[in-house]
Symmetry: C2
Subunit: 306 residues, 2 copies
């Protein structure tokens, strides 16, 4: 069953792998080289789909110094068209809607082959940011000009921890036409369970079917990567930080943790009847961390009822 | 191996059952009847020890209305002497030190048979409370007049969630002569792991051996009991509350949750080399909830390496 069917039939149990496009300054030949390596790495994984992130400078969201410097990256839609066009599964392209005019977004939506392309729209990272198109408006545009393009939205368990209303946000996005959600990287399994549970019961109260929640996982190979995860807004529990800090092999230990967290969430969602997907990324660009993320995806693939 | 040896040799893996003494207004014959029923219920459990709580009116700690009215209870030391004197394992008697004068505490400590009696000293529940003897002073008294009486202290994972310094408090209590800790009821496994982990690594940094952490569990048979748990200061995660609220059988579901939480903490502590004990209580006085707590203790007993 293909990814779109797994989503629209509320079956879930699919595997995605997420990539960040190369830096904007990358020469075309180098970008193709990177894409080729990615092909080689991911082909054997047999994922149901790829995700391409749309990276925005989120410095305004977080006053702390970014552990890794921000360097603008290629537009994911361009990277896909120029270097990954032969990839054989659906690709989910993120769009940070604030960056694009309505015209640009409309043009992009209209030109997508909905059999092989999907989208996730992301709102502005802070209220201070100049906004070319709001998330709400982008969702309307898609409903008008590209209702067949499967649209997703982000789900942030950490926001639910702080404000306890993220489940209501999910229901609103679902009503605006979204058919799946993708979380940011999950380290706090309790926060993810709280959000999934509140969302499922809210759907139940309103007579809605919950749509697939895609949980994202990433390994962490160093304290610097952990610091970066925190900067990105990921709650890393103290006990996991301690385990990683004192591990003989931080990366291996993190792989074990991520696998355990994913399996716990999978069985939790199955028990509650919430359709779910798994998404794996590497927040770090170090080769060993990318390779460990591929191993994580490999392990989780075997646990999905695909 | 008896309870004291399991504690002082840092072996852990022991099982306790905690009781609240009957109401102060209970007639002696009725109190004996209650004690007899308790004997009957707990004898087959083969626990390593009993705990008797010293209930204090904690209304000053929490401005919210108490879900169950506060009624003064018998002094645990009196209840023990008058009605449970033939119980054959060690008994841990709680002492809310603020309630007793130094003289009373000294007399009590001196008169204890240290082969069969242990103590946990608890400080005042708020800063506003009149304090006859501070926790610190009570700990000094015991060091002076009853160093062989094994002393414990309370450990509050929820405090660690708020202030992230409870592990330092545990080390200070350990230095003041405590040889074990007893938590309040645990529903938030993540909070308990954070505290256990921070405590273990703090010990490691200071060249100390961690002493046994006794984790307390209680079932919850109704939303009223859940409300009471929260009033007592227990963090009950949203997803567990949702599960309980929508369960066909709240009590059974809660029993499953408590067992899973306990098993997770047990394997966590074994992996980190933290000695631990298990304590089961019923925060409710309803018979079905007490009996379910006994079943919980029974299940957990089989998982301990006693």
């Amino acid at each position: 069953m293909d990814l779109q069917r797994r989503i629209t039939s509320l079956r879930g149990e699919f595997l995605l792998f997420a990539l960040t496009p190369p830096r904007l300054s990358t020469a075309p030949e180098k970008a193709q080289e990177i894409a080729d390596i990615t092909f080689e790495r991911l082909e054997p994984l047999d994922v149901d789909g790829l995700i391409l992130y749309d990276i925005d400078d989120e410095a305004d969201r977080n006053p702390e110094e970014r552990p890794f410097p921000f360097l603008p990256t290629m537009d994911p839609a361009n990277y896909l068209d120029r270097h990954l066009e032969t990839w054989r599964t659906p690709v989910v392209v993120y769009r940070a809607t604030a960056k694009y005019t309505e015209e640009e977004l409309r043009g992009w939506i209209e030109s997508q082959d909905t059999a092989t392309r999907m989208a996730v729209f992301v709102g502005a990272s802070s209220r201070e940011k100049p906004v070319a198109t709001t998330l709400r408006r982008a969702q309307q545009l898609r409903a008008e000009v590209g209702p067949d393009l499967l649209l997703g939205a982000v789900a942030i368990p950490e926001r639910h921890t702080r404000k306890a209303d993220e489940h209501l946000g999910l229901v609103a996005k679902q009503k605006a036409g979204c058919s799946y959600f993708v979380t940011q990287v999950v380290y706090d399994v309790n926060a993810a369970k709280n959000l999934a549970s509140d969302y499922a019961y809210e759907c139940n109260d309103r007579g809605l079917d919950p749509i697939p929640l895609v949980f994202t996982f990433s390994v962490c190979g160093s304290m610097k990567t952990l610091q970066f995860l925190r900067w990105l807004g990921v709650d890393v529990p103290r006990w996991i930080e301690n385990d990683l800090r004192h591990a003989d092999d931080t990366l291996d230990t993190s792989l074990e943790h991520a696998e355990a967290t994913a399996l716990e969430l999978m069985s939790f969602c199955r028990r509650l009847g919430i359709p779910f997907g798994i998404n794996v990324e590497s927040v770090s660009i170090r080769r060993v961390e990318i390779e460990a993320s591929v191993r994580l995806a490999e392990r989780l693939r075997g646990k999905l009822a695909r």
